[in-house]
Amino acid sequence: MITISAISEIFPVLMQGIKITVTVLLASIVCGYLFAFIAGFCRLSNNVILRKFTGLYVEVFRGTSLIVQLFWLYYALPILFGIDLGSDFWAGVLAISLNYGAYMSEIVRGSILSVSKGQTEAATALNMSSFQRMRLVIFPQAVRMMLPEFGNYLIQMLKATSLVSLIGMTDILYYGDILRSSNLSQAPTVYLLVLVFYFILALPLIFLTRKMESISKKGVASE
């Protein structure tokens, strides 16, 4: 049964997990976008090796599951190569951001490519350098196309943070599991509250996504 007393008992325990969930999320967002832009631009580079190498990264990280990547970074890397990421925090953040960075790099690449050729030509006709063409003309237009999709990935990244409980990080789901294993009959209440917690965390992200969508529509109706 879901009772008020049970809720008041569970609530403070789950609260302890919020800090980890939020810090993992924020770090993953920053790193994820960073990887997305770096990989997106590398895939458009003239350098074949760079292009192929980033292509491989993108396919590997999109083609395998996030959990397995997480376990690789946390368990396998230190043993195989002696690379220790120093903490479970960085293993979690890197797994999530490398994975979503791979997906989002495709958005970066696709958006830049979809700015029409006429824009590059007009910028060339005004004698802009190739860097200026990207910075002043192509990139600002491409970013507007990226925003709505980037917003959707924010929420997906939040959901993905719950996987870090599997490498022993004390996030919301971790505390939920602890509670459940100490008292199985409370499981429905526990997981109901876990859902509520994640949804409340998602609300600002949903709001942000809407905001990004409206920004992307402003100013740049089709030419």
Binding site: S116, G118, Q119, E121, A122, A123, T124, A125, L126, N127, M128, S129, S130, Q132, L136, V137, P140, Q141, R144, G219, V220, A221, S222, E223
Partner: protein, 256 residues
């Protein structure tokens, strides 16, 4: 006579196996206005795109103000131009496109002043002043803070002209700048071009299907047909008095 500002010497262009231009020779004097006419697919756009450095010739030389556009000297050898070389010469040339190609994320004023600030290094105040003057000249002084999506086709094309003019090129290229416009908007754009042409000092190459307009502003008309210049001369010679049969049948389609 003064030295030509642009010279084409036996310029060829192929796309894959398709030979589009088969030996173009052309001289443009400073301040000269040249119209290029010809059937669709004859290579008119390709000629001016090569001059704008948007397309590389397959063979031949294009000389701009004494500099070979697509070739440069390196260690005593002649090699293909790199971006730096192109950039040093390209500033002499400006272009207006058939489909405007305005920057949709910038206001009208920003469309005009961005390149003078970043390419010519003018300070912001001056750039703004020059851009406003130029936009007033094309009749858009009241649209400075609008975005391109809020303008009519004719207005967009006038912005595109102001944007190119404010860079003060020595040669301006116009690629069928009225053919994407509704008929009732063509006049206002041609009027602006006439105004620029009367101002004088800038050379102009206009690809156009507007024969009356060509008669009015062009010092010289070229008839391009199947990749060669099949006829050239003064506007009235080419448009009104030519004996060339293909030219006559081409013109008939515009004189109905």
């Amino acid at each position: 006579m003064s030295e030509p500002i642009v010279t084409f010497q036996d310029v060829h262009k192929s796309f894959g196996d398709v030979k589009v231009l088969k030996g173009i020779d052309l001289e443009v004097k400073p301040a000269e206005k040249i119209a290029i006419i010809g059937p669709s697919g004859s290579g008119k756009t390709t000629i001016i795109r090569m001059l704008m450095t948007l397309e590389e010739p397959t063979a031949g030389d294009i000389i701009v103000d004494g500099n070979n556009l697509w070739k440069m000297e390196k260690n005593g050898k002649t090699v293909d131009a790199n971006d730096k070389h192109l950039r040093a010469i390209r500033g002499d040339i400006g272009m207006v496109f058939q489909h405007f190609n305005l920057f949709p994320h910038m206001t009208i004023l920003e469309n005009c002043m961005t390149a003078i600030i970043h390419v010519k290094g003018e300070n912001k105040e001056k750039a703004k002043k020059h851009s406003i003057e130029m936009l007033e000249k094309v009749g858009l002084g009241d649209k400075l803070d609008n975005y391109p999506s809020q303008l009519s086709g004719g207005q967009k094309q006038r912005v595109a002209m102001a944007r190119a003019l404010v860079m003060r090129p020595k040669v301006m290229l116009f690629d069928e700048v009225t053919s994407a416009l509704d008929p009732e908007l063509v006049g206002e754009v041609l009027e602006v071009i006439r105004g620029i042409a009367k101002d004088g000092e800038m050379a102009m190459i206009l690809v156009t299907h507007e024969m009356d307009f060509a008669l009015d502003v062009a010092d010289k008309v070229l008839f391009l047909d199947e990749g060669v210049i099949a006829e050239q001369g003064s506007a009235s010679q080419v448009i009104e008095h030519s004996k060339n049969e293909r030219l006559q049948s081409f013109l008939k389609r515009f004189r109905s």
